[in-house]
Symmetry: C2
Amino acid sequence: MSDAPPSLDPVQLGAYFDLIEVTSLLRHAVEQQLRESGDLSYVQFQLLARLGDSPTGSHRMTDLADGVVYSRSGLTYQVGLLEKEGLVVRAPSPDDERSVTVTLTDAGRELLAKVLPGHVEVVSGLLFAPLSHDEVSALAGLLAPVREHMRATPPRSAASRRRKGGA
Amino acid sequence: MSDAPPSLDPVQLGAYFDLIEVTSLLRHAVEQQLRESGDLSYVQFQLLARLGDSPTGSHRMTDLADGVVYSRSGLTYQVGLLEKEGLVVRAPSPDDERSVTVTLTDAGRELLAKVLPGHVEVVSGLLFAPLSHDEVSALAGLLAPVREHMRATPPRSAASRRRKGGA
DNA sequence: TATTGTTATACTCTATAACTATA
DNA sequence: TATAGTTATAGAGTATAACAATA
């Protein structure tokens, strides 16, 4: 079924393992902080943050799904939770009646503001503490092309987003 | 509760976002490959790989839990699944009757071998493709100290592993 | 016919607490 | 008393498929 690369070289293996471990630990810490300070899951935080970044505080469901890598139903579920908490509001889009526009409420903005400092604190203290400013730059410089590459690379067995749902 | 860093500088922010996105996409791709080629979750793969790395093909439950960051019950659950599939075997440890030693079976080793090439292929093609060898070295060099720092930093509100369960 | 989003449903995973047994 | 592990249980999250409505 395969006869190509039997292994990664030691340097690659180290980088790969470190990457997995670092993000795993970081994620864990961040999730805990978000849960404690705002009763938010990481996904919910990402959705709020994304809306907060938007000039209008709004996004269509589809646009949100694109960013947070999700099945449509999963997004509906999460946005439903956020709406139930009064953090966002859903309304039919003006231009396209099929679409739904999600908008951050004042409460949502407040929660975001309440949660952000602690979030930053965790990321700073855990991820950036052992790195100099130049090293952070170097890290960013290395990750950017990888990100671009991944974005451009469709998940091999992707049955296409056009045919099926959205996952 | 906090009055310090209100924000990360742009460079840090970029590095942080890229890190999250890159590992999220990588994880997604890897999980899909593992599911398709061996019907394994990522956690299960990690457990098998960890056992495969051991000279004896064995580990105590506790040692496994330490690496894969888990609650004890979660580990019991996953190892239970693997045992049900005949990929590992559990037996009381010889030296400490309280401990359980988990050992990779031949079937487990075979599955690991069957799944690994595709795994390596995904990681190579997605994570390492856009990086030169030197860049991979640089990446590894940046992540290593971060990993060490995180390992040494107890999760702030960690009620200690001694008092409670293990999470 | 294609796209947007929701619903129903089933399943996987994870965590907490209570419990057993050995050190 | 502390440690190793299991069990019961409950809850969060995710994905699939069927569905409704608009373009």
